[in-house]
C-alpha cells in the first residue's frame, strides 16, 4: 500500500485534531454560531437558485417509484367511490321505498283491500295535455281499467289503460279528471276536478256549505264514485265564492303528482294475479 508522506501524515493528524476541537467547541458553546450562520446563509441562497432548476427533476425522480401504481390506485379508488355512492343512493332509495311500502301495507290493512305496489316508470306526454304516468304493472298483476291508484294514504289517480305488464294512470290532477269528494270536517259532498299544477278545485254540491281553509278532502262516498272512498285528496288552501254564489275551494294535493315513485293500485275486485299482492297482514320480515 502506498504510504503517506510525512507532511501528509502531519496534515491529517492536525486536521483531525482541528475537526475534533471544532466539534467540541461547537458542542460546548455558541462559538461557531456566526460561522454556521454565514455558511448557511450562503448555501441557502445557492439552494434557492439550484432548487429552481432541480426542483422539477426532484419531483419527477421522487414520483418514479409510485408512477406505475398511481394510476392503478386512482382507478381503484375511483371505482370504489362510485360503488359506494351507488350503494348510498340505492340505500336511500331503499329507505324511501320501504317507507312507501309500509304506508301501502297500512292502507291495505286499514282499507281491507288488496294493493299491488308498482313503480312509476314514465310520466305523461306533457303537462297541460293529459296528466298521466305509466306504472310497471299490468293485467298480469290483476290490474283492470278504472282501478284507483294511491300512494298509501292519498289519491293519485285511476287506471286509464292496462297492458300486460304496464298500465297508464290518469292523475287526479289532470284538468279533465273529476272525483267525487267529501269534506271531512263537515261531511259535505262535492266534486274535485284537477287543476294541473294548481292542485284541485273542490266544489261542494251544497252552495251554502261552510268550507274553510284547512279542511281535509277525501274521496267521496262508497258506490257514488269510481274511486275507492276514504283516500285523502288534499287540504283546502283557499275558498272563493263566485258571482253566482257558488263556492269553490282550491285544494293542495296530498300526493304531489310530480314526485310519485312507488305507488299502489287498489284491486277493487277479486282478479287472478300472478304478481304477489300485499295482503292485509302485518308486514313481517320486510326490509
Amino acid at each position: 500500500m502506498r504510504r503517506l508522506t510525512r507532511r501528509q501524515r502531519t496534515a491529517a493528524v492536525v486536521l483531525a485534531v482541528v475537526a475534533l476541537l471544532l466539534a467540541t467547541f461547537d458542542l460546548g458553546g455558541s462559538g461557531l454560531r456566526s460561522a454556521h450562520g454565514g455558511v448557511r446563509g450562503m448555501l441557502g441562497a445557492l439552494y434557492r437558485g439550484t432548487d429552481a432548476v432541480v426542483g422539477p427533476v426532484r419531483s419527477f425522480v421522487a414520483g418514479i417509484p409510485t408512477a406505475g401504481t398511481n394510476s392503478a390506485t386512482i382507478a381503484r379508488l375511483r371505482s370504489q367511490v362510485e360503488h359506494l355512492q351507488h350503494d348510498l343512493a340505492g340505500r336511500q332509495a331503499d329507505a324511501t321505498a320501504q317507507a312507501r311500502l309500509r304506508t301501502l301495507q297500512l292502507a291495505a290493512d286499514s282499507g281491507g283491500y288488496r294493493i299491488v305496489p308498482a313503480r312509476v316508470i314514465a310520466f305523461g306526454p306533457g303537462q297541460g295535455f293529459e296528466w298521466t304516468v305509466t306504472l310497471d304493472a299490468g293485467t298480469q298483476s290483476g290490474i283492470r281499467d278504472g282501478q284507483t291508484v294511491t300512494d298509501g294514504a292519498a289519491l293519485v289517480g285511476r287506471v286509464l289503460h292496462v297492458d300486460g305488464a304496464t298500465c297508464t294512470v290518469l292523475l287526479a290532477a289532470d284538468p279533465g279528471s273529476g272525483v267525487g269528494a267529501r269534506d271531512v270536517r263537515t261531511g259535505d259532498i262535492g266534486t274535485v276536478t284537477g287543476a294541473g299544477t294548481d292542485g284541485f278545485t273542490y266544489v261542494p254540491l251544497d252552495p251554502k256549505a261552510a268550507v274553510r281553509a284547512g279542511d281535509a278532502v277525501t274521496t267521496g262516498p262508497a258506490g257514488a264514485t269510481t274511486f275507492v272512498p276514504g283516500l285523502t285528496i288534499g287540504t283546502v288552501s283557499a275558498v272563493r265564492t263566485g258571482a253566482d254564489g257558488i263556492i269553490s275551494a282550491t285544494v293542495t294535493p296530498a300526493a304531489a303528482p310530480t314526485r310519485l315513485d312507488l305507488v299502489g293500485v287498489i284491486l277493487a275486485g277479486g282478479y287472478d294475479q300472478p304478481r304477489a299482492a300485499l295482503s292485509p297482514t302485518p308486514l313481517a320480515g320486510s326490509r
Binding site: 500500500m1 502506498r2 504510504r3 503517506l4 508522506t5 507532511r7 501528509q8 496534515a11 491529517a12 486536521l15 483531525a16 482541528v18 475537526a19 475534533l20 476541537l21 471544532l22 466539534a23 467540541t24 467547541f25 461547537d26 458542542l27 461557531l32 460561522a35 454556521h36 454565514g38 455558511v39 448557511r40 450562503m42 448555501l43 445557492l46 439552494y47 439550484t50 432548487d51 432541480v54 426542483g55 427533476v57 426532484r58 425522480v61 421522487a62
Partner: protein, 185 residues
C-alpha cells in the same frame, strides 16, 4: 495542483453539496446517501491521499457549517474517506477496474456515513439514532455505489483531461514508494 485543478475541484464540491441538498437528500430521504462524500472519494482515487484529505476536510467543514449539527463531524468523516480512498489508489494495477473502485467507494462512504451517524448520536445532536447507523449501512452502500458508478469514471476522465492535467509528471510515474519499500506495505 494547478490553479485550474483547484478551481475545478472547488466548483465540483460546491455543486455536489447543492445537488445533495436539493436533489439527492430529498429523494432518498431517510438514508444517509451522500453525493459529496462519493465525490471526495472519486477525487482521492485519482489524486491521492493528500488531495483526498484536504478536499474531504474542506467539503465536510462546509457541509457541517451549513447544517445544524456540531461542526467537524462530517469534516472528520469525509477526511477519512479521502484518506482511505487516496491510499487505496496505490493498491493494485495502474488502472484498476471500475467495479472494484465502485465497491471500494460504496463501502468507504457508507462506513463514513455510519461513523458520522454514530458520532452525532454519541454527542446527542442532529436527531441521529445509533441503530440507524447499523440498519442503514447496506442501503446507503447501494446508493453510494450507484452514485459512484457515475461519478468515479466522470471524475477520472475530468482530472485526466488535457485542460486539467497536472503540469508535473503524473505522480504515478514517480511513485517509487512501492518499489523502494515493498516489505513495509
Amino acid at each position: 495542483m494547478t490553479r485550474t485543478r483547484v478551481v475545478a475541484t472547488v466548483a465540483a464540491v460546491l455543486t455536489a453539496l447543492l445537488l445533495q441538498a436539493t436533489l439527492v437528500a430529498p429523494v432518498v430521504a431517510p438514508l444517509a446517501v451522500s453525493l459529496p462524500a462519493v465525490l471526495v472519494a472519486a477525487i482521492a482515487l485519482v489524486d491521492g491521499p493528500g488531495t483526498g484529505i484536504s478536499v474531504g476536510f474542506a467539503a465536510g467543514l462546509t457541509a457541517d457549517l451549513g447544517s445544524t449539527h456540531p461542526a467537524g463531524v462530517l469534516a472528520l468523516c469525509w477526511m477519512g474517506v479521502g484518506l482511505v480512498c487516496g491510499l487505496a489508489r496505490g493498491v493494485g494495477p495502474a488502472r484498476p477496474p471500475l467495479r472494484r473502485q465502485v465497491v471500494l467507494v460504496a463501502v468507504v462512504c457508507s462506513a463514513s456515513a455510519s461513523a458520522a451517524t454514530l458520532l452525532l448520536a454519541l454527542v446527542g445532536a442532529g436527531g441521529a439514532e445509533a441503530w440507524s447507523a447499523a440498519t442503514g449501512w447496506v442501503p446507503v452502500a447501494v446508493g453510494d455505489g450507484a452514485l459512484a458508478l457515475v461519478l468515479v469514471p466522470l471524475v477520472r476522465a475530468f482530472l485526466r483531461s488535457e485542460a486539467l492535467r497536472a503540469p508535473v509528471p503524473v505522480p504515478r510515474d514517480l511513485d517509487v514508494d512501492r518499489d523502494r519499500e515493498p516489505a513495509h506495505a
